[in-house]
């Protein structure tokens, strides 16, 4: 009886470093683009065949459109997005001093709508919100990701990291079990990627539309049979922040195309 316990204890100690050693070194980080086939890559690379660009076009129109009871457009405050929004999405989710917590780009758009345009918030995953965030994030295409560098955001990065490492759902899997320990392998024929959120919002062929990182995280959660966090919940924002900080230095690709 005692010897079985000893063996179990030894097995636990032996397994523990392997689980913690999962993090990917910076020079080995690869965007999901590197895991795709040549056809899907070509689709993303050509702006006239990338369906995400249709949303960017819509977002450009929305950027200039006056809305809300203040009858102001994004242009009235921010001017030309090509210069004012360059590199902005690479820093999101960003810490908001007034709220004392990080906010995603989608939440920032809705805060702007509420505070400056006196307009109703756009629902999560609505076409208009995705179009605006795609247009804004598109201005950062090629910019290295720097989200999570702000010292005030550190506790939230840590919270996200803890969630990333935490097993959940009926399959009892953590994000790290697939995306740190088993990338480059296959899950039911589909490649397992490193979960680097470089191109959001992105056009997923499976969705037949553009979707946010939160939608992607929620579909992974239902994949491991866990109860997914609500859109905009502090847990999803923290996870998003951790994932962006984990992808530090990788260039933005918005709007990316993924299978």
């Amino acid at each position: 009886m005692m010897s079985w316990r000893a063996i179990a204890a030894v097995a636990l100690f032996a397994a523990a470093p392997a689980l913690l050693a999962g993090e990917i070194p910076p020079d080995a980080r690869r965007s999901g683009y590197a895991f795709m086939g040549p056809d899907t890559r070509a689709m993303q690379d050509d702006d006239t065949s990338n369906p995400g660009m249709l949303f960017v076009l819509d977002g450009e129109a929305l950027w200039a459109k006056k809305t809300g009871s203040a009858a102001k457009s994004c242009t009235d405050c921010h001017g030309d997005a090509r210069s004012s929004m360059k590199g902005v999405a690479a820093r999101y989710p960003a810490f908001d001093k007034a709220l004392g917590r990080p906010v995603t780009l989608d939440q920032r758009i809705n805060l702007c709508r509420a505070n400056h345009q006196q307009a109703t918030p756009l629902p999560y995953e609505s076409r208009d919100l995705l179009a605006l965030s795609a247009f804004i994030a598109h201005q950062s295409r090629g910019t290295p990701i720097t989200a999570g560098d702000d010292p005030q955001a550190k506790p939230f990065v840590e919270q996200g990291r803890a969630l990333y490492m935490q097993r959940e759902g009926q399959l009892n899997l953590a994000c790290t079990n697939c995306h740190d320990d088993n990338f480059d392998k296959r899950l039911a024929g589909a490649p397992i990627t490193q979960a680097q959120p470089t191109g959001y919002p992105l056009y997923r062929l499976e969705w037949q539309t553009l979707g946010s990182l939160e939608r992607r995280l929620r579909s992974c959660m239902s994949g491991v049979r866990a109860q997914a966090y609500d859109y905009g919940s502090p847990e999803l924002v923290a996870l998003e922040l951790y994932l962006m900080s984990r992808a530090h230095g990788l260039p933005m690709e918005t709007p990316a195309v993924r299978p």
Partner: protein
């Protein structure tokens, strides 16, 4: 609706050029049900046409199996400068148009 058109801006007389079109549409098949069992009505683009200086050079019928945001690419022989006009027609009176010009030397 938004459309992305790729036609070369210049070509030599008699050249074969590739024309690529992408348009925004949900292409709802009409076979899906909502969570409470109601059928989601079909809403697709049914036809696409391309005219080159007024003459029809390409036409396609589209069906429910075609993905959202249909992408169509085809070739044309260009003999004179002019305009390509594109038109998408679909369910519920849907209609969308775009155009692109080409200079032939």
């Amino acid at each position: 609706m938004a459309a992305l058109i790729n036609v070369p801006s210049k070509a030599k007389r008699g050249d074969i050029v590739e024309i690529r079109t992408l348009t925004s549409h949900i292409m709802e098949t009409g076979f899906r049900h909502t969570a409470d069992g109601n059928l989601v009505p079909r809403n697709i683009i049914t036809s696409f046409t391309c005219r080159y200086n007024g003459a029809e050079i390409f036409r396609a019928d589209l069906f429910p199996a075609i993905a959202a945001n249909p992408y169509l690419s085809f070739f044309a022989v260009v003999k004179e400068s002019g305009k390509f006009e594109f038109e998408w027609i679909g369910d519920n009176g849907y209609s969308s148009a775009a155009s692109a010009s080409i200079t032939v030397e």
